[in-house]
Amino acid sequence: MDPSRPSDVVSVAEAVLDRAVEFCAQKLNHITPEAVIDLLRQGDHSTYRYWLYGVAKYVSEHLGAWDESITAIYIYEYDATPEDLSLAEAAPDPLIHLIIWAQRKTAALNSLIEGLDRALIQAHSELLGTHQLKYLLDVQVVDDQEMNNRRGYGALFSSLHHRPLPLWKR
């Protein structure tokens, strides 16, 4: 599959969302994919969190396979305090916050992410029957230098309170 061809990115996006639904179904006591989609359409927080994680996981697998400069990919939460995140009634953030650790930042990687994000937004809207989001992926790329010196988003890896979760590593 050639990710630079838009048609391939579209089919990858659809496959990612389908796999995320299956992942979610498995985590929620093996309910059916149709039941997952119903829960997602109803805005069930727990289902939505699992589903977003599934999307992040499969997106990471594709990005890691496509771009050899990527060392690892992480997901993190963007919020103030653990207390902030731990309130069950809080609606899940609609964005998937990823940190890509790459040897270097390249225009090709940015373009790949943008293309995939556009395709995911379209597929997301079709699957859930909702309005189109502006973004689904919030991706911060950190290079080796930033990671080693803990600068920019590389600083989160020294954090006691915001701990990125590893999704994919080379």
Binding site: Q26, K27, L28, N29, G43, S46, Y48, R49, Y50, Y53, T71, A72, I75, Y78, D79, A80, T81, P82, E83, D84, L85, S86, L87, A88, E89, A90, A91, P92, D93, P94, L95, H97, W101, K134, Y135, D138, M147, N148, R150, A155, L156, F157, S158, S159, L160, H161, H162, R163, L165, P166, K169, R170
Partner: protein, 446 residues
């Protein structure tokens, strides 16, 4: 019937701590426990802490490491490592969250436990400090697996927790639902209907407190108001910028707006909004409530200019409230901060270099240990309500939070003024002094 032979084989096949299975590892980071000890050593020197007390506080009081076997959904048994560390119970039962993360380790939990000791002391609630964690990737686990893990962990730390010993709460990757399971497990194992006072951060129907959701933001707003009083500045003459519009940032914005402040800028990960005459916070919050899970970028831009998160930090405002990620105010942007007051709603939003620059520029910084302590204060109020089996309305919770935050602020302010230190140094010094005083008054049984 369980096939133990089969299970034993599987136990060998899945070694402990094989959580991620990844090969690449991030560059080493400074040990958080070393950092906490360095902070303590500096404070001890400043307040001339007796060497014996200093030695006591340099060690956690009790550490429990457990290996937690969990039957996964596929029938395999995995063994997870869990920790519960009690840094100090000198001032009361230990208090602190439980986090689930693949990289949780002993020194991280030690550091967080000590920080809880200081935080509880600063806001003068009768708790010591603790923290717990399980090395696991909760997003990879099903609801059922998480529940089994939580219940087994509860059983294994039961000997050292309880309403008069150590009261867990949510932390990174744990939530009210997990606290409900924990409370149920503790109750069942102690033969009680429900021991609700054993855990805080529970769902409201299980004894969770009203007012918990806005507690951290409310505390931030109260501290801001008290700082303005000390500067003889009226809220109506005050402009505020808030970085981060999650639960804490949006609650603080709403309350400061109600107090009469002009909230001129807010931001989230999608960027920010700025209106020099003040944003319509009520309308903004109505929009966010009507579009759950949406970001600020969806709010119509007529009510302000779009700005970046970095622009927000250097706006010409009176009060800056970082309520998002860590390390936002650094060596590179601290010289450009124009606010006279910084209130740290997030944990560690200012680096040590950034802090030094703000201090040299005489910018008043309300440290995170005080400014975002509203959450732990309402955890304490939840425990109080649970113990007396009598639940307050939200107004009563808010009044008690207000009293605690104002009193704590006054103590830190007076201490800092008296000793000529920053509010951050003052808060830590006061906390260590309070814990040391409790140890001294209890007498040395050694």
């Amino acid at each position: 019937m369980v096939n133990w032979q089969h299970m034993a084989k599987k136990l060998v096949a899945v070694p402990a701590q094989s959580v991620s299975g990844f090969v690449v590892s991030e560059p080493a980071r400074q040990d958080p426990w070393d950092t906490v000890l360095m902070q303590l050593d500096a404070v001890a020197e400043r307040i001339k802490l007796a060497p014996g007390f200093h030695a006591i506080l340099r060690q956690p009081e009790r550490e429990l490491i457990v290996s937690i076997p969990v039957m996964m959904d596929d029938g395999e048994v995995q063994v997870f490592t869990g920790y519960r560390i009690q840094h100090s119970s000198a001032r009361g039962p230990c208090k602190g969250g439980i986090r689930y993360h693949p990289e949780v380790n002993l020194n991280e939990v030690r550091a967080l436990a000590a920080l809880m000791t200081w935080k509880c002391a600063v806001v003068d609630i009768p708790f010591g400090g603790a923290k717990g964690g399980i090395q696991c990737d909760p997003r990879q686990m099903s609801d059922n697996e998480l529940q089994r893990l939580t219940r087994r962990f509860a059983a294994m730390i039961m000997p050292i927790i309880g309403p008069q010993r150590d009261i867990p709460a949510p932390d990174v990757n744990t939530d009210a639902r997990i606290m409900g399971w924990l409370a149920d497990a503790v109750s069942m194992l102690s033969g009680k209907a429900i021991t609700m006072e054993a855990v805080t951060g529970k769902p409201v129907p299980l004894g969770g407190s009203l007012g918990r959701k806005e507690a951290t933001g409310r505390g931030v707003a109260i501290i801001t108001r008290e700082l303005l009083k000390r500067r003889a500045q009226s809220p109506s003459d005050t402009t505020v910028a808030i970085q981060g519009y999650g639960n804490v940032g949006s609650s603080a914005a709403m309350l400061l707006d109600e107090m009469g402040c002009r909230v001129v800028a807010v931001s989230d990960v999608s960027g920010g909004l700025y209106h020099a005459r003040g944003l319509d916070i009520a309308a903004l919050n109505r929009h966010m409530a009507a579009h759950p899970g949406c970001l600020l970028e969806t709010y119509p831009a007529e009510d302000g200019d779009r700005i970046s998160n970095q622009d927000l930090l250097t706006l010409p405002v009176d009060v800056l409230i970082p309520a998002a990620l860590e390390n936002q105010i650094r060596e590179d942007n601290a010289p450009h901060v124009q606010a006279g007051i910084v209130v740290e709603a997030a944990n560690n939003p200012t680096t040590s270099q950034g802090d030094r620059i703000l201090h040299d520029r005489q910018i008043l910084v309300a440290p995170d240990i005080l400014a975002n302590a509203g959450g732990v204060v309402v955890s304490y109020l939840e425990w109080v309500q649970n113990l007396q089996r009598y639940f307050w309305d939200e107004a009563q919770v808010n009044r008690s939070l207000e009293e605690k935050m104002v009193h704590s602020f006054e103590r830190v302010w007076d201490f800092s003024q008296h000793t000529g230190t920053s509010l951050r140094q003052g808060a830590y010094a006061l906390a260590v002094e309070k814990v040391a005083a409790a140890i001294r008054m209890r007498g040395m049984w050694a």
